[in-house]
């Protein structure tokens, strides 16, 4: 990890020593302390888990094509949706943006050489691998059928599946998130370059600050909860089992204390990316920067006060339900602030519809639906009707997939030239984005209707009158599947045959566009000093746009 030497200006691609070609042995990857290499290893691992979770999703949609439970036994179906949930939530959605894009970009965006605690960063990757390996082993042994929520006493007393092993896997994996969160918080506090004040931080960094708070303060609670479930399964003593004097609702309190904020872990980083995309591709300073920044913190803090809305019908006191329902309405405010500010940012902007921006705009529409359906579910009376129906499934997929996955893909396209030094095919990028948008809505909008009509979640069979909408949903899932597979191919193709990316392909002022593509191991040849305001597209940004355009033209020629 030596400092990169002086490089002649105007040399691109492989000629230059960068983090990718600085050492090519397996050891130089597995023992690296470079946040960028760790991010790339996270990218590969997270994609593998996404693929596995996606296959389970395909299996679920195939089963639900017909009213009878004909593809799977009902018990197998329970395992399929559980494993889809566990892989997607704990091993894809939670680490996806923070561990891949956050890891790669936060030090660059704040002008640091690395994260503050690089060894801890590597440790978190290994913990993620160990937790993932244990979970995968348990899935191969026969899996688990409790639902990703592990509700007691089913998980502690009655389920005959590998609850213990999966619980241990997720317990271990939790510490990966915690360490990542600690690392980000420390880095953002102590590693900012000269002149990089708090209000010059990109909103991507602000949203990761908020997410890290949740990582540090929430994840340990779910870890201890799963530990208690595991002990209870082994020792048959119950604080969660009513037959032994325990209280299953205590489990739900402890579980949702983390897992509701975890929902914000699964959307806040996406909001950070979308703030970047909308401001940069509208080439306009984001409207109400401070409000967008603090609304992230607001979501993180208020997100801890609303967990009881998962428990309206599970025996929680009516008073507690009222309080939690009220606070759920309150937490909608910071999300709405973001939506209004994004819309105002687009107003009179000079918008370009590059692939990343398509994802950014898709996010706005889909998150709007996801957020509003969330208010339906937070309303105490309506929730009684909608609990455990496909409306819930539709709602959180609009937030998780329509929010986080769409934003993740947008971010991946946006920073792909920076990460790899290669340009992907813009044409296929746009085609994939459109397919994903259409396929996604076709999959999940029927589910909102199905749920409102009363189709319960977690059943392999359903009454025949629901079949038409389910066929729509499965057809949409096929389109979505094709759309999600396409980036895999054109990204890999770009690595081999893609055009070399200029340092600043989108002609933007952010700090990450002021280093080479891909960046050197220590991120900048000379440590940057920030003298311009964030999202400043005028002359004050000190960025030589003409030079960047010339550079891009040289490469294209």
């Amino acid at each position: 990890m030596e400092t990169v030497g002086a490089i002649e200006a105007g040399s691109y691609g492989t000629a230059k020593l960068n983090y990718l070609n600085n050492g090519s042995t397996l050891k130089s990857w597995l023992l690296t302390k470079d946040h960028k290499r760790i991010a790339i290893m996270y990218l590969i691992s997270v994609s593998a888990f996404f693929l596995m979770g996606g296959l389970y999703a395909a299996a679920i949609r195939l089963e639900l094509l017909t009213p009878a439970s004909d593809l799977f036994e009902t018990g197998t179906y329970n395992k399929v949706f559980t494993q889809h949930g566990i892989l997607m939530v704990f091993f894809f959605l939670i680490p996806s943006i923070p561990a891949v894009l956050g890891n790669f970009l936060i030090p660059i965006m704040i002008g640091a050489k690395d994260l503050a605690l690089p060894r801890i960063n590597l440790l978190s990757l290994y913990i993620y691998w160990i937790g993932g390996a244990i979970t995968l082993w348990a899935l191969m042994q026969g899996g688990v059928d409790t639902g990703w929520t592990f509700y007691t006493p089913y998980s502690t007393t009655f389920s005959n599946t590998y609850v213990l092993a999966v619980g241990v896997g997720i317990f271990i994996n939790g510490f990966s998130s915690i360490l990542t969160g600690v690392n980000f918080l420390v880095t953002i506090h102590t590693m900012r370059a000269p002149g990089m004040t708090w209000f010059r931080l990109p909103l991507f960094v602000w949203s990761h600050y908020a997410v890290s708070l949740i990582f540090v303060l929430g994840t340990p609670v779910v870890a201890i909860t799963l530990l208690l479930v595991a002990i209870e399964r082994v020792a048959h003593v119950g604080i969660f089992d009513p037959a032994l004097g325990g209280d299953p609702i205590l489990f739900q309190h402890m579980f949702w204390f983390y897992s509701h904020p975890a929902v914000y872990i699964m959307v806040l980083p996406g909001m950070g990316i979308v703030s970047e995309l909308l401001a940069n591709f509208a080439r306009k300073r984001i409207f109400g920067y401070e409000f967008v920044a603090f609304s992230s913190i607001g979501i993180a803090v208020f997100g801890f006060l609303v967990w009881g809305h998962h428990m309206f019908v599970s025996g929680q006191s009516m008073y507690a339900s009222l309080v939690f329902s009220f606070l759920t309405m309150v937490v909608a405010i910071p999300s709405a602030i973001k939506m209004f500010n994004w819309t105002a940012t687009l107003y009179q902007g000079s918008i370009s519809f590059d692939t990343p921006m398509l994802y950014g705009l898709a996010f706005m529409g889909l998150f709007l639906i996801g957020g509003f359906t969330g208010l339906y579910l937070g309303a105490l009376g309506l929730d009684v009707h909608l609990t455990d129906t496909y409306f819930v499934i539709g709602h959180f997929h609009y937030v998780m997939v329509g929010g986080q996955v769409i934003a993740y893909l947008g971010g991946l396209h946006y920073w792909w030239p920076k990460m790899t030094g290669k340009m992907y095919s813009e044409f296929w990028g746009r085609v994939a984005a459109m397919l994903i948008f259409v396929g996604f809505n076709l999959t999940f909008f029927p589910q909102l209707i199905l749920g409102y009509l009363g189709m319960p979640r977690r059943y392999a069979a359903y009454p025949p009158e629901f079949q038409v909408l389910n066929i729509f949903s499965t057809a949409g899932a096929s389109v979505l599947g094709v759309g999600l597979t396409m980036p895999l191919f054109y990204f890999l193709h770009s690595l081999v045959k893609g055009k070399p990316a200029p340092d600043n392909p989108w002609l933007l002022p952010g700090l990450e566009w002021r280093t080479s593509s891909p960046p050197p191991t220590e991120n900048f040849d000379t440590p940057p000093v920030v003298t311009w305001e964030i999202y400043d597209f005028g002359d004050e940004s000190g960025l030589d746009l003409e030079a960047a355009k010339r550079e891009a033209a040289t490469i294209n020629a």
Partner: protein, 312 residues
């Protein structure tokens, strides 16, 4: 804390400075903040257990009081003092590390470790006692005592100063202690019986909570003690006791591992006024573990002990 100033013209690499930092001040600030955030997550980690304790205690206060009274508060108190002494020696280790006094550092780290080991020893003694008396909440993990077998045939440890209770040697008047399968046993129902009787005599009194009146009775509201139901609630106390103290002991063991490494580093004379943050960080961890015990001691050993005044 602040945007750091750095000059790329004069890069002066101090020993112990990692490549991503510009100067020692930045490194120490980062490491210390990282440690504190780690401790914050530790607080939440134990916090989950404290929540479980809080909820369960509020549901079954009398069962928890009975369980508390059965623990050895003297040993618990002694252990608290042992940990406090070890915290003092740890604080002094940091003090002498800042002074660069190698011999004092080494001596104090050894002392800290000795007190840590003492703590674990006393804890092990207590655990063994629970094992002998059928108070481990998991079936099969207690000493097996068959009816009418002599003490010498019992499987398991007998603590010094204690004779193994066998069925034939039991106190006159008491039921013989028999536990052939090593299950959880509970034999002290005087306190709850007393409260139950009073509650029956004064239905409007507050001797038992409403929840207790329902859950300790043979049938809801009968106010006739169901010993099995009460035993299950005491078992929950011992479950929480073992999980909390066990997790705490695990932290102590990890702490001893850190101390061993620190001892080696201090022995080599690594630390001085310029570079002592590993000592300081280890100290933070050690003090945190002490603080957890400061709360565990009253919550597990002391609350409910005032019922001893009833003379039951």
């Amino acid at each position: 804390m602040s945007a750091h100033s750095h000059s790329d013209k004069f890069v002066y690499h101090e020993p112990g400075l990692q490549h991503q930092f510009d100067d020692m001040g930045q490194q120490e600030e980062s490491v210390s903040l990282g440690m504190w955030l780690f401790l914050a997550q530790e607080i939440m980690f134990f916090g989950g257990l404290f929540t479980a304790y809080l909820v369960m205690r509020s549901k079954y206060p009398l069962a928890f009081a009975s369980g508390s009274n059965h623990l050895d508060a003297f040993l618990g108190g002694a252990n608290t003092l042992v940990l406090i002494v070890s915290s003092l020696t740890m604080a002094l280790t940091v003090y002498y590390a800042q002074k660069g006094n190698r011999n004092m550092q080494v001596g104090l780290i050894v002392l800290t470790m000795l007190f840590g080991l003492t703590f674990l020893g006393i804890k092990a003694y207590e655990y063994t006692d629970k094992y002998n008396h059928g108070l481990v909440p998991m079936a099969g993990l207690n000493r097996r005592v068959k009816a009418d077998s002599p003490a010498s045939e019992h499987v398991g440890l007998v603590l010094p100063g204690e004779t193994a209770v066998s069925a034939s040697e039991a106190k006159p008047g008491a039921e013989p202690y028999v536990n052939p399968h090593g299950e959880f046993q509970w034999r002290e129902y005087e306190l709850v019986q007393h409260m139950m009787d009073k509650q029956r005599a004064e239905p409007n009194g507050h001797y038992l909570t409403l929840n207790e009146q329902l859950t300790y009775s043979t049938s809801p509201g009968s106010l006739v003690l169901d010993k099995d139901k009460f035993r299950d609630k005491v078992r929950i106390f011992f479950y929480i006791y073992f999980v909390m103290t066990g997790l705490h002991a695990l932290h102590m063991i990890i702490g001893l591992g850190i101390m061993t490494w620190l001892l080696w580093m201090a022995f080599k004379g690594t630390f001085n006024a310029e570079y002592f943050s590993p000592v300081e960080m280890s100290g933070l961890y050690w003090h945190f573990v002490d603080i957890v015990w400061i709360f565990l001691f009253p919550l597990l050993y002391l609350l409910g002990r005032h019922y001893e005044h009833l003379g039951l």
